[in-house]
């Protein structure tokens, strides 16, 4: 048993008088990964920010929060500045915005080193270069004078980790460090964190909502809900036994597969959506006053079809061209070459003012990822949901409009009185229901879904997946379902297509393809996808192997899970 690095004891937190955390207990040990799990609003990020003492104004924390022997809640701001970045590091969720866009990565990594150690610039830069090397950004390919915008999301997250770990902190807090990344990058970043914990012996608080990730990473686990600890203990044990009803609920929701009649229905033989030899080039970067580099081929000779009433998944790493393809299918972008035809209309040749285009737009709708950003906050739900109705050939009468809206809201399980309210009055899951209501109000035949459940908590995600299944049954909707989450693809699609570098490299019935991927790209995705059961099995296997060597007999037996047990 190693000494605890962070001991949280009966921590209460209120912001502006509203209680956020209630009596949180948690102990983080050196060289261990402690997972803090919960849905959005459960208080996991707030717990982390309390430990960093970076809470918003009006926050009021009580209890004890000991780092070693020091109480962080009573430490001066000066002392906290000395601890932050030196002894306690933090990695945030969104790598795209976590770095200052006007400073080079070298400056940003070296800054903390110079601040805490007083090292001169060359020394600090040498250390920064070394740290960047450790996180997988060798100086030869990623010189210190690179700016964040010149790096991809995964590379930026490595820089953020380098900043946090540059001074070998005793405690690293990672708040959903891989949620914004695709599965392959996620696996790489998790490996990196695991290595740093093993090599430097630091304690890691891993905040996540993904039980698959947690099962593969964590030694200990604390499950939060609405600011209270539900269950805590040895991670593998807690996740395997699932004693607590909430743990059980989370586990079920994360592996949820909707039951729907259309699942086994055979496919029609004609394509509602037909895509032939589609190519989309983007102009290359400027290289001189008038010259440009080689164009970038985002979509490369893609052909496929979606039969009516069929749900087809499109999976692939970020940057593989999924979203570009979706934009072209939706006729929001023109292809460089190739044909898109929808229900017999060649939409890739149509212009916005063509009558056929209105028909195509009516029959082909879209649901986006972000349920917050896709609504105008100043319009009522009635106006927002009714928006696509202007595509109708004849303007609808007032009563017809109302009926259509009421029908759409009812289909997605929202009360009719939602009409008069504004988007901010609804939760993320409800907003996504409203987005779906907006998509089905024109009675479309195809809905393109661009990561529609990625921003949602697991239990909400399960409900929305059920809704998609139900709408397929009741309205015969076909889906082009874009996702990087293979669990989601498995739950809601008949077939999947794997996209890689602009090409569709593999296509087949969902279950078959994901169980037995043939191409390298598909295998990479499947191997990287976190899976709760697989991770637990792997962990138990490992523990068994190591047991006789280490002579620890108690580890295999999960620690008795009791809420609040330190």
């Amino acid at each position: 048993m190693t000494a605890p690095i962070l001991t949280i004891d009966k921590l209460d937190l209120a912001i502006g008088g509203v209680p956020i955390l209630r009596s949180i207990d948690m102990v983080v040990e050196a060289g261990k990964v402690h997972a803090l799990v919960g849905e959005s609003g459960s208080g996991k990020s707030m717990t982390a920010l309390t430990a960093m003492r970076l809470l918003p104004h009006g926050a009021d924390a009580a209890g004890t929060l000991r780092f070693g022997d020091e109480d962080l809640l009573t430490a001066t701001e000066e002392r906290m500045c000395a601890l932050r970045g030196d002894d306690i590091g933090m990695v945030f969720q969104e790598p795209m915005t976590a770095l200052n866009p006007v400073k080079t990565i070298g400056e940003q990594v070296a800054e903390g080193i110079r601040w805490h150690t007083g090292a001169n610039r060359p020394d600090a830069e040498a250390r920064a270069a070394h740290m960047l090397e450790r996180v997988g950004l060798p100086r030869a390919r990623f010189p210190l004078d690179r700016y964040p915008h010149e790096l991809s999301g995964g590379q930026r997250q490595r820089v953020v980790i380098a900043i946090a770990c540059a001074l070998r902190p005793k405690l690293l807090i990672a708040d959903e460090p891989t949620t914004a990344l695709d599965v392959v990058l996620q696996a790489q970043i998790l490996d990196l964190l695991r290595e740093l914990v093993a090599e430097d012996g630091m304690g890691l608080v891993l905040i996540s909502h993904d039980l698959g990730v947690v099962a593969g990473m964590a030694d200990d686990i604390t499950i939060l809900r609405r600011g209270e600890v539900q269950e805590a203990g040895h991670a593998v044990g807690v996740l395997r036994q699932q004693k607590h009803p909430y743990t059980q609920q989370l586990a079920e929701a994360s592996a949820h597969v909707p039951q729907w009649a259309g699942r086994t229905k055979p496919a029609d033989h004609w394509g509602l959506l037909e895509v032939q030899s589609l190519v989309r080039d983007y102009p290359g970067p400027r290289t001189g006053l008038f010259s440009r580099g080689e164009p970038f081929r985002a979509v490369d000779n893609v052909s496929f079809s979606v039969p009516p009433g069929r749900s087809v998944g499109l999976v692939g790493q970020s940057g593989c061209g999924k979203s570009t393809l979706a934009r072209i299918v939706l006729a929001l972008d023109k292809p460089t070459a190739g044909i898109v035809s929808f229900d017999g209309m060649e939409t890739s040749r149509l212009n916005d003012h063509d009558a056929q285009m209105a028909l195509a737009r009516r029959e082909m709708q879209v649901v986006f990822q972000d349920p917050y950003g896709s609504f105008n906050p100043r319009q009522t739900v009635e106006r927002l949901v009714a928006e696509p109705l202007h595509l109708e050939e004849k303007p609808l009468s007032r009563t017809e409009r109302r009926e259509r809206i009421a029908f759409a809201l009812e289909e997605v399980g929202m009360p009719a009185d939602a009409m008069r309210r504004y988007p901010h009055e609804f939760s993320g899951g409800q907003r996504q229901r409203l987005a779906i209501a907006r998509a089905i109000i024109t009675r479309p035949k195809l809905v393109v879904c661009d990561e529609p459940v990625s921003a949602l908590d697991v239990s909400i995600r399960a409900q929305i997946l059920d809704l998609f299944a139900k709408l397929n049954d009741e309205l015969g909707l076909a889906y082009l379902f874009i996702t990087h989450d293979l669990t989601v693809a498995r739950a809601i699609t008949h077939e999947v297509m794997v996209m890689d570098h602009g090409r569709i490299v593999e296509r087949g019935p969902t279950g078959e393809l994901l169980d037995n991927p043939q191409t390298e790209a598909a295998q990479r995705l499947v191997a990287a996808a976190p899976d709760l059961n697989r991770a637990i099995e792997a962990r138990i296997g490992n523990t068994m192997l190591h047991l006789p060597l280490e002579g620890r007999s108690a580890t295999a037996e999960p620690r008795k899970a009791k809420p609040g047990a330190g």
Partner: protein
């Protein structure tokens, strides 16, 4: 960065060319024959015809535009109709007043606005912030000619620290010249400073809410250091935009202020020239103003690229 600068320069040249064409042809279609205007109502037809010939007004319009353009490129803006002296000379006499005045006002407004913006952003929601913001409201609301009169009353008439108006010329030395410009500069700068301070404050507040500010805080940097090192440069883009626009306003704003303070500047010159239909002078001054604004915006573009590396590749 070199390609970026070259591209911007190209845009500057094209803009200047288009602007000069617009100025020339708009004044061309304004009713009234300059030759007849110069000679007065009692002039004979012959005299008018002779003068038109002499002024080259009988040439085709494109030829005249090109010769006007090539003249300007050589620094020859033509000859004033009322004063019968080269426009270049008139402008040169006046610009030594107007340009220092505009620069002084710009410097003053920046020197007031940026610290106020930083101070209020760092102390958001405090009484000092509220008071400073109320002050900027007032600064925007007060018309600058009225504020100019107030300044004259307090500092020139009552306290007698500075002259109430007029300009002694730079020959008298730097200090008397500056003394004459300080009140007009303050009058010009105040409303600009008020706007700029508000822009700086809101840009800083927006930047301070960014994720990378939290990253910097997590490194252990204290809040005020984070503001200087990480927030300020990111907040500069909107500030630079407003600064560039304000320079144009300052030049235009001098017309009123120069009249209030009896300053022999470009504002007065163009005001009189318009009254006297001295179109050649108007053309010259307008082209000069357009040129200045275009060049200032070019400098702002370069400053953008300095502030934000993402723009350098465009």
């Amino acid at each position: 960065m070199l390609a970026y600068t070259a591209r911007r320069l190209l845009i500057v040249l094209v803009t200047l060319l288009v602007a000069s064409a617009i100025v020339f042809f708009v004044l061309e279609i304004v009713p009234g024959d300059p030759a007849r205007l110069m000679l007065g109502l009692n002039a004979t037809e012959d005299a008018v015809r002779a003068l038109r010939e002499q002024m080259g007004l009988n040439e085709p319009v494109l030829t005249r535009y090109l010769s006007w353009l090539s003249g300007m490129a050589r620094g020859d803006f033509g000859e004033s109709l009322t004063y019968s002296v080269p426009v270049t000379e008139l402008i040169a006499d006046r610009i030594v007043v107007s340009l220092p005045l505009a620069l002084l006002a710009l410097g003053l407004s920046t020197a007031i606005a940026i610290p106020v913006g930083i101070f209020t952003a760092a102390r958001r929601g405090t009484r000092a912030d509220t008071a400073a913001m109320a002050g900027t409201q007032l600064g925007i609301a007060i018309p600058n000619f009225w504020f100019a009169l107030l300044l004259v009353y307090v500092f020139a008439v009552t306290l007698q620290w500075v002259p109430a108006g007029g300009f002694p010329g730079w020959d008298e030395g730097l200090w008397p010249g500056l003394r004459a410009l300080i009140l007009p500069a303050i009058a010009l700068a105040l409303p600009q400073a008020a706007i700029l301070a508000r822009v700086a404050r809101s840009a800083l507040l927006e930047t301070l809410a960014e994720d990378y500010i939290r990253t910097a805080r997590a490194k252990g940097l204290p809040a005020n250091i984070v503001l200087w090192r990480h927030a300020l440069r990111n907040a500069m883009i909107p500030v630079l935009t407003i600064l560039g626009l304000q320079f144009a306003f300052l030049l235009a704003g001098t017309i009123i202020i120069e009249n209030v303070f009896f300053l022999p500047g470009l504002g007065q010159l163009v005001f009189q020239a318009i009254n006297q239909r001295d179109l050649i002078v108007v053309e010259g001054v307008v082209v000069l103003l357009v040129g200045t604004v275009v060049i200032v915006n070019f400098l702002v573009d370069l400053a953008y690229a300095w502030a934000d590396p993402r723009l350098r590749r465009r």
